[in-house]
């Protein structure tokens, strides 16, 4: 599935990425191939965001708040939000680097932007799951987002 368009708002389009290589046919083709490989792993990238976002929300609202230490306070919810972002970012970047090594100029920046986007998606999912949890599921945490 071609899901790289979900990252267009931060990573830009294929044409913008390939533009610097217009005058070099070989590099241009490498750039297109690079983008194509990223497109090929985009589904997995999105899965990383979903899994990390949901997972850390579940960990916060269940096992983490089953331990003492006043974990129910919003301070720890925010800490978990930050952790979600950072982990999603690093995992995404690491997976991209291993799967599609960025040899071209600008390729590392592209992968970094996609990773940042994934971090934001994961954080958004963390927030959405938190809202759902506060309103419908059992937890020892403070229901910060209860309606």
């Amino acid at each position: 599935m071609k899901l790289l368009k979900l990252y267009q708002w931060i990573a830009g389009k294929l044409t913008e990425f390939c533009a610097p290589f217009q005058n070099n046919e070989s590099l241009y083709q490498q750039a297109r191939a690079f983008w194509g490989k990223l497109e090929g792993i985009s589904t997995i990238l999105l899965i990383i965001a979903v899994v990390i976002g949901v997972l850390f929300a579940v960990i916060y609202y269940k096992p983490y708040n089953n331990k003492p230490g006043r974990h129910y306070t919003p301070k720890y919810w925010v800490i978990f939000l930050i952790i979600t972002f950072v982990v999603a970012f690093l995992l995404t970047l690491g997976f991209e680097y291993i799967s599609v090594a960025p040899h071209l100029k600008g390729a590392m920046l592209l992968e970094t932007k996609i990773a940042l986007g994934n971090g934001i998606y994961a954080s958004a999912l963390y927030f959405i799951v938190s809202v759902l949890w506060c309103n419908a599921l059992p937890t020892n945490a403070y229901r910060l987002f209860e309606f």
């Binding site: 003492p68 020892n140 403070y142 209860e146």
Partner: protein, 465 residues
């Protein structure tokens, strides 16, 4: 509703009843009995007596809040404030007059009408034999000043004519019990106990009263008073042991209680100011021991013959903890530890902006300002003062380290509790709330006490092992 009428005679009776009230608040079980305290002290304006009345009212108020369910009443909670307390006046739906009936400003001479005895009347010599001039000139407004010979005369009439005694006889039902608390070295207690016992066992017109299972705790000397010549007082603690021996000799052949408990010290460890008007004596370990007698009595059945009970401590040390007291004191220590932990909740939870029960159970700012919680706050201040006095007295009852909520694993000395700080208890409180899914009431105050107790008991039950 089965009841136990607790007659608290004299200053010691009042102080022991205070300890009983504190232990009941802490969760000590009265085995299903409603406690009906009856305070007998002729000492007018005794601050201690007024304070006890106020404490009992406070306890009752908190209890009522905990079982209130709008138009109906819920069962008593397990744990804190689990037993009902009712004054004799409330039981009889009249004003409680034990305070008023005891008041008398006249001198003893006038009370027994010595002036009407002719100079040649042989009864004059009889009076002079039994009573000194000091006895005769003593105003009754400050009690009997350690003179049971005076107390015997006054109390006898006081008991017979009192509305509360009539109410007791009316309201005493089958399975109800009687418990009498007194000292053996004072004036009121030493005379009052055998008199009251005699009146009860002599109630031939009322077999239920006559045959009621009766227990008593008589407190032997446990404190001294400063030299009376320096204060002008008429009470001399040098006579305490002499009076005790005399009273014990009398009790040997006359005691009619089914269970008689003794509590006391081998030496007079603490010396108080000798002020017969104020009697500002701080809470003492012996009073706590005497208080525990009531709870023990309520667990027992009618014996085949009279039982004489006492209890000891394992080590004769100045400051007692669980090890030096012995395993027999585990329940008392656990109860006190529980309430002192509850005190940390009472102090800190109002400031916890994000405590989950604020949303889940409505324990918000309004709840903490409400009358129910505020009555608990006031009671807890008195509780803390009581425990402080016990823990700093001479023969201290000091089984707790209660200074820091960040290091609570050492809350009970000599035992390592698994809760390292207060967040452990708060988590259990949240879990208890989440487990409770019944919709039988919406009493927030009851929720607070119930979940707090479950949380605290979850850790402190280790003390009982």
């Amino acid at each position: 509703m089965k009841k136990v009428f607790v007659f608290c005679i004299g200053g010691t009776g009042i102080r022991v009843m205070k300890s009983i009230t504190m232990l009941m608040a802490s969760g000590m079980s009265t085995s299903g009995f409603t406690v009906v305290p009856v305070i007998l002290d002729p000492h007018l304006d005794l601050e201690e007596k007024k304070n006890l009345h106020s404490l009992i009212e406070s306890y009752e108020e908190i209890y009522r809040h905990s079982v209130n369910n709008g138009t109906s009443t819920l069962n008593s909670l397990d744990g804190f404030f689990n037993s009902e307390m009712l004054t004799i006046g409330e039981l009889n739906e009249q004003l409680n007059d034990t305070q008023q009936a005891a008041g008398n400003t006249e001198k003893f001479r006038s009370y027994i009408n010595v002036a009407n005895l002719g100079a040649d009347n042989v009864n004059n010599y009889f009076v002079q034999t039994l009573f000194s001039n000091k006895n005769l000139n003593n105003p009754l407004s400050v009690g009997f000043k350690g003179n049971p010979n005076v107390g015997t005369v006054v109390l006898g009439e006081m008991i017979e004519g009192a509305d509360w005694f009539k109410a007791f006889k009316t309201k005493c039902e089958k399975d109800d019990r009687v418990f009498i608390i007194s000292s053996i070295f004072g004036g009121t207690g030493a005379s009052g106990y055998p008199l009251l016992e005699k009146k009860i066992r002599g109630a031939s017109d009322n077999p239920t009263v006559k045959n009621a299972l009766m227990g008593a705790v008589t407190v032997l000397p446990y404190y001294g008073l400063k030299d009376p010549t320096t204060t002008g007082s008429d009470i001399d603690s040098a006579n305490f042991y002499t009076k005790t021996k005399a009273a014990l000799a009398y009790y040997q052949n006359t005691v009619q209680s089914d269970y008689l408990y003794y509590a006391g010290e081998k030496t007079l460890r603490q010396v108080y100011e000798n002020d017969e008007k104020k009697q500002e004596d701080t809470a003492n370990f012996i009073e706590l021991v005497a208080a525990s007698a009531l709870f023990d009595f309520l667990k027992r059945e009618r014996p085949d013959r009279k039982q004489y009970m006492t209890r000891a401590i394992d080590d004769d040390v100045e400051s007692l903890d669980l090890v030096t007291m012995g395993s027999g004191y585990k329940e008392i220590v656990k109860c006190v530890a529980d309430y002192m932990i509850l005190r940390t909740f009472i102090q800190n939870l109002p400031n916890e902006k994000y405590f989950p029960l604020k949303k889940n159970r409505g324990l918000d700012g309004g709840f903490y300002k409400d009358a129910a919680f505020q009555s608990l706050v006031r009671f807890t201040e008195k509780y803390y003062q009581w425990y402080y006095e016990l823990s700093t007295n001479n023969r201290a009852f000091a089984p707790l380290h209660y200074d820091s909520i960040k290091q609570m694993d050492g809350w009970v000395k000599t035992i390592d509790l698994d809760a390292k700080d207060d967040s452990y208890y708060l988590l259990r409180m949240i879990e208890a709330s989440n487990r409770y899914t019944k919709k039988d009431h919406s009493n927030k105050f009851r929720f607070f006490l119930q979940f707090a107790y479950e949380a605290i008991n979850g850790y402190t039950q280790k003390i009982m092992k």
